[in-house]
């Protein structure tokens, strides 16, 4: 029988909540959310978003805490073992492999983007953006120059200002070291310790930025105001409520922002005692994430961009993607305001903190799996993950300009999240049984979960998720699979490479699961 004391545990409730909230609060809150809101009609987006939060986000959050704590009781910190407990069938553990590969694949590109935020915070402080504009200025607009800066820095286009991808590789290396140092220090001494001061710092930085943005003077030549930005997002607009794509985008954002359907919450919750509250903890992490997103996140990028560039230009910028809004336009803005280098540093370092608390959470399921199911030491598990991550991040670094990163993000960071969320929802509510689920969810609960969530978890959430998958399948699946909208052979090759990578990782982790069960290293606590 495994040594019970070998499992780590959380030290404090706030530490636990900050760690899980830190997992949820990431680049999605400050970069992806404003872009999704702007792309999907602003006021039209918020109503489906709030409905999706109530019908998908909160139920899935509670479900994942439940699965995690239940699995932890039997010594399972990852979803292969947890799913095998929920469903006594040989296939269950292989469905759980998704809870290992999704966070790992997302980690391989997320950590790269995270390294940009760290690099940009350094560039802000050192005034590198201004230097770049002086060297490359001319007839190009500042937005265009900063776009070139990002493409040059990330190696997506040749730029003599940078040393190929050398500078990006250095910042990536530093980011990887920071991530793995936290993972190496362990659950309580690393992740919890870091979250306890990173998350409050992140909130303080965000509040400072909101105050600064709302006290800026009117920009000469622009008729935009921060209220116009807020109005675009909050003024109710019912015209696009019938558009299924707006609903898909809102549900996708809920998955991304809460980090549900990923496998990370399960692992964190597995380190709870079996009668420790999950109802209040789950709600607290969900609400903390929403505070970061729809109270703070909504007041930064869009309002300040509207103030500087006007509403229509901001919508165009946002439609160019999260990087266009968060990196390109914000660099231009901070180059123009008083103490811009300082506020630029705060913005990008806020993103870095948001990113790192999420990326360590993505690494933890693999470390836990190697430790518990293969009986590797903590040091060996962290080292193995580091080697694997470095190996898998190299193609991201080299082939981003061909859409390799976007392809990984679409499949692992979007589609598989919804698929995994649907699977776990059905397993818990219908295979394990809703009555047992409800009893487990309420065991040790510090708050009473409203009874209506029994009905929502059993019927509404799974049907909502199945409908999302079905609509996506009939609307877009075939075109995406056969690259109907892509004729660049390099991009098609990179996309095929990304898909093969996902398949190979799935097969490799399935083999490890098979070996663990077969060789007996997989053990359950009785």
């Amino acid at each position: 029988m495994p040594n019970l004391s070998a499992r780590e545990s959380w030290g404090t409730r706030f530490g636990l909540i900050f760690a899980v909230a830190g997992n949820a609060i990431g680049l999605g809150n400050f970069l992806r959310f404003p872009v999704q809101a702007a792309e999907n009609g602003g006021g039209s987006f918020m109503i489906p978003y709030i409905i999706a939060f109530l019908l998908i986000g909160i139920p899935l959050m509670w479900m994942e805490w439940t699965i995690g704590r239940y699995g932890g009781r039997y010594g399972h910190g990852t979803t292969p073992g947890m799913f095998a407990r929920l469903w006594n069938h040989p296939a269950a553990k292989y469905l759980g492999v998704l809870g290992l590969i999704i966070p790992f694949i997302v980690l391989t590109y997320y950590v790269f983007i995270e390294s940009w935020t760290f690099a940009y915070s350094v560039f802000s402080l050192t005034g590198l953006f201004g230097d770049y504009m002086v060297v490359n200025g001319g007839s190009s607009s500042e937005l265009s120059l900063m776009k070139d800066f990002l493409l040059g820095y990330t190696g997506q286009q040749h730029d003599p200002f940078f040393w190929g991808i050398g500078m990006a590789a250095i910042f990536l290396g530093i980011t990887l070291v920071a991530n793995f140092w936290i993972l190496y220090k362990g659950l309580s001494g690393g992740i919890e310790w870091f979250a306890k001061w990173a998350l409050p710092t992140l909130f303080i930085f965000a509040i400072i930025l909101v105050i600064r943005i709302f006290t800026l003077d009117q920009i000469p030549g622009s008729n935009g105001t921060v209220w116009q930005g807020l109005g675009y997002i909050w003024n109710p607009d019912y015209s696009r409520l019938g558009d299924v794509n707006v609903w898909l985008a809102a549900a996708g954002q809920i998955f991304f922002t809460l980090s549900v359907g990923m496998g990370t919450i399960h692992t964190y919750a597995s380190y709870l005692r079996s009668k420790e509250d999950i109802a209040l903890n789950g709600l607290a992490t969900g609400m903390t994430n929403e505070f970061a997103e729809i109270v703070l996140g909504v007041c930064i990028a869009i309002p300040v961009a509207v103030l500087f560039f006007g509403l229509s230009e901001t919508i165009t910028i946002a439609q160019g993607g999260s990087f266009n809004l968060g990196f390109v336009s914000m660099s231009v803005i901070f180059n123009h305001i008083e103490f811009g280098p300082f506020f630029g540093f705060i913005w990008f370092f806020l993103l870095f903190f948001a990113g790192i608390t999420s990326s360590v959470a993505m690494g933890q399921p693999i470390v836990t799996f190697l430790q518990e199911e293969l009986k590797w030491s903590h040091r060996k598990s962290v080292t193995a993950l580091l080697v694997l991550t470095v190996g898998c991040v190299i193609p991201v670094l080299l082939f981003s300009q061909y859409g390799y990163l976007d392809e990984l993000d679409f499949w692992a960071g979007t589609f598989l999240l919804v698929l995994f969320g649907t699977i776990e929802c059905i397993l818990l509510a219908w295979v394990f049984g809703m009555d047992k689920t409800w009893a487990e969810m309420n065991l040790g609960a510090a708050i009473t979960i409203p009874r209506i969530f029994y009905f929502i978890i059993k019927w509404v959430t799974p049907l909502f998720l199945i409908a999302l998958l079905a609509v996506w399948f009939f609307n877009s699946a075939w075109g995406i699979l056969i690259f109907a909208n892509e004729d660049n052979p390099d991009k098609i090759a990179a996309a095929i490479g990304a898909r093969l990578f996902i398949v190979v990782i799935f097969v490799a982790f399935s083999f490890l699961v098979y070996r663990s069960w077969k060789s007996g290293t997989h053990r359950e606590l009785k």
Partner: protein, 53 residues
Amino acid sequence: MITLFQNTSDLTTAGLIFMLVVWSLTIGFTIYCFIRILKIGNKLPADTPGQDE
């Protein structure tokens, strides 16, 4: 003049109410959760998962 006091009508009354209701609920629930946690006690027992079976 700072932007905070300019063209506040760009956010309509309905938009302002929608925003304030959502913000109040979000901030209210967040504060409620943390107060409840403080009442329960911040410290978690030192024993490890599974031991209290």
